[in-house]
């Protein structure tokens, strides 16, 4: 059975934090694509293990890519380029 609670930590991956409903909340879970499935599906890993997810709403997904998943459906790709990080660096 899939976990329906994950912590609110930005995109929700760590166990041991306080629980929140992943689907009621504006939470997206970071998952890494492990294998492609059939017709718009893939197997992806998060802190909770491997789950089947729907990838029909994200284009050009490949194995190894990090996706943001909400309600069992991948909705975005995680970009390694983050200008925020550079803004943060400026604060150091």
């Amino acid at each position: 059975m899939s976990p329906w609670y994950v912590p609110i930590v930005s995109m929700g991956q760590q166990r041991g934090d306080d629980p929140i409903c992943v689907t009621c909340a504006d939470v997206a879970e970071i998952m890494t694509i492990e294998a492609m499935g059939v017709e718009g599906e893939a197997y992806a890993r998060s802190g909770f293990g491997v789950r089947q997810i729907d990838i029909s709403l994200v284009a050009d997904v490949v194995v190894g890519q990090q996706v943001l998943v909400h309600g069992g459906v991948a909705l975005g790709l995680l970009s390694p380029k983050d200008p925020t990080r550079f803004m943060m660096e400026e604060q150091r």
Partner: protein
């Protein structure tokens, strides 16, 4: 952990707060975080207590459980009690009180109510129980709607006609418009929800900057994301700029997820109007299934009471959701109303402002009370 630790650096938190203090120059600034996820992060990490005292965070209506009127919960209860039905929903909905009882109460009395992680799980239950009607109670803002849309399209493709959806998806932008049109609203700027924006993009917020002249920053969900976004709002105010900025650029693009938007438009259409708890009836603020997908529409197949049910007279969720009062100003906060025994929806979901205050907000409450008391004490001197 990558993408987490770097956004929780204590030293950086202190520096960003110093910068907010320097840029805001002690001017009072009220920022509404629209999303319940942000509210939760603000309380969990005590961000109100590290922000300069002139920065006030106001907790907006972005918790989907909190804004659903009690009448719709009663409707869900009626559907769940229909003989032969398997009723499926997300976990938080189980405890939400209707006018008489909650889904968890009727489950204990024998109704077949199951919670699911994804609407696709509800579709699987329908496939495994072809002799029974399986209803999915769909709630949520723009982040959650795509998963329902994908599921409806798949149900049609697979011909799973015992699958139905009771649709209660709401849209953030009309709610923001209604808030902005409210004469009582006194807000300097907004933090926009990161994952809703991952779907809808940044463009739908532009009217807030252009027409209402308020800064908007699309914000991520780590402590530093939120503080950085506050700094971006404060910078806009200090430089007299009003625009939509993207703090959460590692996820959000200006145009959003076009495939998700297309899937929603294919399967759903706006309702004429929809009642929101605390905000009243807002035109074109919620979605229903398109007629082409009527075979999957619970509202087309079952008799739904559709009653208007007023909130508990003691509950001030409406004022909390509009940022007019803080949760602890509600007369029953923490006494008759607790997360264990909630009277209003804002206390049910961990994203609700009342639950967040109850679970994490004691120190902030003390500080606010102190600030309220101080001027009186000074006045007496």
């Amino acid at each position: 952990m990558k993408y987490m630790d770097e956004y929780r650096d204590r030293d950086l938190v202190a520096r960003v707060c110093d910068e907010i203090d320097r840029v805001s120059k002690g001017q009072p600034v009220k920022i509404m975080e629209v999303c319940g996820g942000h509210t939760h992060v603000i309380f969990k990490y005590g961000l109100e207590d590290v922000l300069p005292p002139n920065i006030e965070m106001v907790h907006g209506p972005g918790c989907p459980v909190c804004v659903l009127p009690m009448g719709r919960i009663d409707d869900a209860m009626a559907l769940a009690q229909t003989p032969g039905v398997i009723f499926t929903t997300f976990a938080d909905m189980m405890r939400v009180p209707g006018s008489q009882q909650s889904l968890i109460d009727i489950k204990a009395q024998g109704a077949d109510v199951r919670f699911v992680y994804s609407p696709l799980d509800a579709l699987k239950i329908a496939q495994q129980n072809s002799e029974r009607q399986v209803i999915f109670f769909a709630i949520g803002f723009d982040t959650t709607t795509p998963s329902t849309a994908v599921t409806i399209a798949r149900a049609q493709a697979l011909g799973v006609h015992n699958f139905k959806v009771f649709t209660n998806h709401v849209m953030l932008i009309p709610a923001l418009q209604a808030l902005l049109d409210s004469p009582e609203l006194d807000i300097s700027g907004f933090l926009a929800p990161g994952h809703v924006s991952m779907v809808i993009g940044m463009n739908p917020y532009r009217f807030i900057a252009q027409t209402y002249e308020k800064p908007v920053v699309v914000a991520g969900f780590e402590p530093l994301d939120v503080l950085q976004s506050v700094l971006m709002v404060v910078r806009q105010l200090s430089q007299d700029i009003r625009q939509v900025e993207n703090q959460y650029s590692r996820v959000v693009s200006p145009e959003g997820n076009m495939l998700a938007q297309q899937m929603i438009a294919k399967t759903m259409e706006p309702r004429e109007e929809f009642e929101w708890r605390g905000l009243g009836t807002i035109p074109h603020s919620a979605l229903r299934l398109r007629p082409e997908y009527a075979a999957f529409d619970a509202e087309a197949h079952f008799a739904i009471p559709g009653r208007h049910v007023p909130d508990h007279p003691a509950c001030q969720c409406g004022s909390v959701l509009r940022g007019r009062i803080k949760p602890w100003e509600c007369g029953v906060f923490g006494t008759a109303c607790t997360p264990e025994k909630p009277i209003g929806t804002c206390m049910v979901s961990a994203e609700g402002a009342c639950a967040a205050y109850y679970n994490y907000g004691r120190y902030s409450m003390a500080r606010e009370r102190e600030q309220l008391v101080h001027p009186l004490v000074k006045g007496d001197e």
